[in-house]
C-alpha cells in the first residue's frame, strides 16, 4: 500500500463517507427511538394481524421478533442502511479503476513508479476501511439509542409472600400505571455484533464485485449501471425464492440469500457460546449447513475472490488513452 495514494483516496471520498456516516448514525439512532415509542403489546398486536402472510419472508421466528433485540435487529434490513452501505461500496468499487480511467487521471498515476497492484489494493483498503467505519456507525447509533431511550411496560404485579413458606402469590390490585424502564435493560448493544458482521460482509462483497467490473471497464457510469443491475436481479431472485416453494431454486442463484442479519442476531442471542461457529452441525456432529456467521464468511470469501480476479485483470489489461 502507498501512503500518498491512501491520503489521496481518503481526501477524494471524505465527504461521501462523512455524509453516509452521519445519515447512518441518525437513522439507526432514530430507528431505536421508534422501537422505544411503540410498546411491545401494541407491536405484537400489529404483527399478529399479518404474520401469517409474511412468515415465509421472515428469517426469524415470531417469538424473537417480539423481543426488543429482535425489533432493533430489523434496522439492518432497512432500506436506508442497505442503500447507504451499497452506495459507498458500489461508488468506491466503480471508482477504483474505471473511475480513474474515465477521468484520465490513471495516466498520470501510472506515470509514477507505482505498481498497478498498489493502486488497486490502496483503493480497496480505503473502501474496506470505509465499510468498516459505516458498520461501526450503525452499531454506534444502536448503542446510543439503547442507552438513551426507555420503554414503557406494565409494572410487575405486587406479590404476597406466605409467611414461613417463601411462596409468592400475586396480589390483585386492579389496573396499574405503566412504568418506563431503560431500553438497556431489554437489549444489549453487543447482541448486534453478528448483524454488524453480516452488514460488513455484504458491503465487502459488493465492493469486490464492483471493483471486478471496474477492472475491465473504462467508463464508471457503465460499471455502476452493471453493478446496480446485478444487485437488483439478485434481490429479486431472493424475494421470488422466498415467495413460493416452486421458486425456491432461485434462492441458490443469489448472493443476497447470504445477507440475513436478523437471523445472525437471533443466532447470537440463542447460542451465545457457539454463534461464531461458521457451520451448523447436528447432535452427531454432522454438517447441517452454514451458520449465519458462515454466510458472512462466505460473502467475504466471494469478495476476496472478486478482488483477486480484479487484480489479475487490471495487471494484464491494456490501459486506454483518456477520451
Amino acid at each position: 500500500m502507498n501512503y500518498a495514494l491512501w491520503k489521496k483516496s481518503v481526501h477524494e471520498t471524505r465527504w461521501l463517507l462523512a455524509a453516509s456516516g452521519l445519515g447512518m448514525f441518525l437513522f439507526c439512532w432514530a430507528r431505536v427511538w421508534l422501537v422505544s415509542l411503540v410498546t411491545m403489546s401494541k407491536f405484537a398486536n400489529v404483527v399478529a394481524e399479518f404474520w401469517k402472510d409474511v412468515e415465509r419472508f421472515s428469517p426469524v421466528p415470531l417469538d424473537h421478533l417480539l423481543t426488543y433485540p429482535g425489533r432493533i435487529a430489523v434496522t439492518f434490513e432497512e432500506l436506508i442502511v442497505i442503500l447507504l452501505i451499497s452506495v459507498w461500496a458500489i461508488g468506491r468499487g466503480s471508482d477504483t479503476i474505471s473511475g480513474e480511467l474515465g477521468r484520465g487521471t490513471m495516466e498520470m498515476l501510472l506515470a509514477q513508479p507505482v505498481s498497478r497492484s498498489q493502486i488497486l489494493l490502496t483503493q480497496a483498503a480505503v473502501t474496506v476501511a470505509g465499510i468498516a467505519a459505516l458498520v461501526f456507525v450503525v452499531w454506534l447509533g444502536i448503542f446510543t439509542g439503547i442507552h438513551l431511550f426507555s420503554v414503557e411496560e406494565a409494572p410487575p404485579a405486587p406479590t404476597f409472600t406466605i409467611p414461613l413458606t417463601r411462596i409468592e402469590i400475586p396480589w390483585p390490585v386492579g389496573d396499574q400505571e405503566p412504568i418506563r424502564v431503560p431500553l438497556a435493560t431489554k437489549a444489549k448493544s453487543f447482541q448486534f455484533t453478528a448483524g454488524c458482521i453480516n452488514l460488513f460482509a455484504l458491503g465487502f462483497f459488493l465492493a469486490g464485485m464492483t471493483t471486478l467490473l471496474s477492472s475491465w471497464d473504462r467508463y464508471r457510469w457503465r460499471t455502476i449501471g452493471i453493478a446496480v443491475g446485478v444487485y437488483i436481479v439478485q434481490i429479486v431472485l431472493k424475494v421470488f425464492g422466498l415467495a413460493h416453494e416452486s421458486l425456491q431454486w432461485m434462492s441458490y442463484c443469489t448472493f443476497y440469500v447470504l445477507y440475513e442479519p436478523q437471523a445472525a442476531v437471533y443466532a447470537q442471542i440463542q447460542h451465545p457460546r457457539t454463534w461464531w461457529y461458521p457451520i451448523l452441525t447436528n447432535d452427531q456432529g454432522r454438517w447441517q449447513g452454514l451458520s449465519p456467521l458462515g454466510d458472512s464468511l462466505l460473502l467475504v470469501m466471494l469478495g476476496c475472490l472478486a478482488y483477486a480476479s480484479a487484480l489479475v485483470i487490471f495487471r494484464r489489461r491494456d490501459l486506454p488513452a483518456p477520451l
Binding site: H11, G104, E107, M108, L109, L110, A111, P113, V114, A321
Partner: protein, 295 residues
C-alpha cells in the same frame, strides 16, 4: 542505446496502431517523434510506459523490458501525457505534494521551483484551472523529477508563446544535464529547434529517421539565370539535385556543406538567387503531403 525498440507492434484486430517499429535512442539524445494524428506516436509512447502490451516485438529502457519490468522502467522515466488530467478536487500545491510523495526521492521544493518558473498559481484548484494552466502543472510535475529519461507528448500544446519558450529551454537544460528526452510534437519548428534526431511515423510504421545536424547543413538554392546553366564540377555533380521549377528557374538541393558550392555558383549568370535551409517541413512533406496531415 538507452531506449530501444525491436519490431515493436500493437495491433487491434485488423488495425495496426504500430507495426514493426525498430529504433534506438542514445543516452543524452533529444529524440523527436513526428506524424499526424493516428500515426502511432502515442501508441509507441504508451508501449514504452507499459500501459499497453505489445502484440509483437519488444521495447527496452535502460535494458529493462517495458512490459515485464514496467515498474523499474517508470523509476527511470518522467512522462507527460498528451492530455494532462490531474485530480480536480486538489489545489495545485496539493498536486505537487502528492507527486513528491508518491515518487521515491521526490522533492517538493524542486517541484515548487519548476512551478514558479512556469508562473503557476499554487492556490488554485485543478477544477478551476484553464487547459493551459493544467498543462503547466503537468509540466512542473514531469520536468522537476530528476529521471534519466523524459517522455513529453505534445508538451507545448495549449501554452502561450512565452511559456512555450520556457519549456523548450527546460528541455535544453535536460539535455545539458545528460538526460534523454523523447519529444513528440506537431509543431515542426519546436522539433527542429530542440531535437537531435527525429523519426517520422505514418500509419503505424516508422518511415524515416532524420539526423537534425545533417538536416541543418542541407540548403535549397533557388536561381533565375540570364544565360545557360553550366554543370557543377565533378566532385559536386553527383551530390546535388538540380531541377527546373515551374517558373522557369532552377532549384538546387545541397546534401551537405554549402561552402564548396559557392565558387561554382559565382560563375553562373544569376539574375536572382535565394538560399534557404531545407528544414524539417520539406522532409515531413515527403511522407505527409496531404493538407490534413498537419494542423
Amino acid at each position: 542505446m538507452f531506449v530501444e525498440t525491436h519490431s515493436l507492434a500493437k495491433h487491434y484486430g485488423h488495425l495496426k496502431a504500430l507495426d514493426d517499429c525498430t529504433f534506438g535512442v542514445a543516452r543524452g539524445e533529444v529524440f523527436g517523434l513526428l506524424g499526424p494524428n493516428g500515426a502511432g506516436k502515442t501508441t509507441l509512447i504508451r508501449l514504452l510506459m507499459g500501459y499497453l502490451r505489445p502484440t509483437g516485438g519488444r521495447a527496452l529502457v535502460d535494458q529493462l523490458d517495458c512490459c515485464r519490468q514496467s515498474l523499474r522502467v517508470r523509476q527511470r522515466v518522467a512522462y507527460l501525457p498528451g492530455d494532462v488530467r490531474l485530480f480536480r478536487p486538489m489545489r495545485a500545491r496539493d498536486v505537487l505534494d502528492f507527486f513528491a510523495r508518491v515518487r521515491p526521492g521526490g522533492d517538493v521544493v524542486r517541484l515548487r521551483e519548476f512551478a514558479a518558473r512556469l508562473q503557476l498559481d499554487l492556490t488554485r484548484r485543478v477544477a478551476l484551472m484553464s487547459t493551459g494552466m493544467r498543462q503547466k502543472l503537468g509540466l512542473a510535475v514531469t520536468l522537476a523529477f530528476d529521471t534519466p529519461l523524459l517522455i513529453l507528448d505534445e508538451p507545448t500544446s495549449n501554452l502561450d508563446p512565452t511559456v512555450r519558450r520556457d519549456v523548450i529551454r527546460m528541455v535544453d537544460e535536460a539535455r545539458d544535464q545528460g538526460r534523454t528526452v523523447i519529444f513528440s510534437s506537431h509543431v515542426l519548428s519546436e522539433v527542429e529547434e530542440v531535437c537531435d534526431r527525429v523519426v517520422i511515423l505514418r500509419d503505424g510504421r516508422l518511415v524515416h529517421t532524420q539526423d537534425m545536424s545533417h538536416l541543418r547543413r542541407q540548403h535549397r538554392i533557388r536561381l533565375r539565370l540570364d544565360g545557360e546553366m553550366s554543370l557543377p564540377p565533378s566532385p559536386l555533380a553527383g551530390q546535388l539535385k538540380i531541377h527546373k521549377s515551374s517558373d522557369g528557374g532552377y532549384v538546387i538541393e545541397t546534401p551537405d556543406e554549402l561552402s564548396p558550392l559557392l565558387g561554382w555558383l559565382s560563375t553562373l549568370p544569376m539574375s536572382e538567387v535565394q538560399i534557404e535551409p531545407v528544414g524539417l517541413r520539406a522532409v515531413y512533406d515527403q511522407f505527409h503531403s496531404g493538407p490534413d496531415d498537419m494542423p
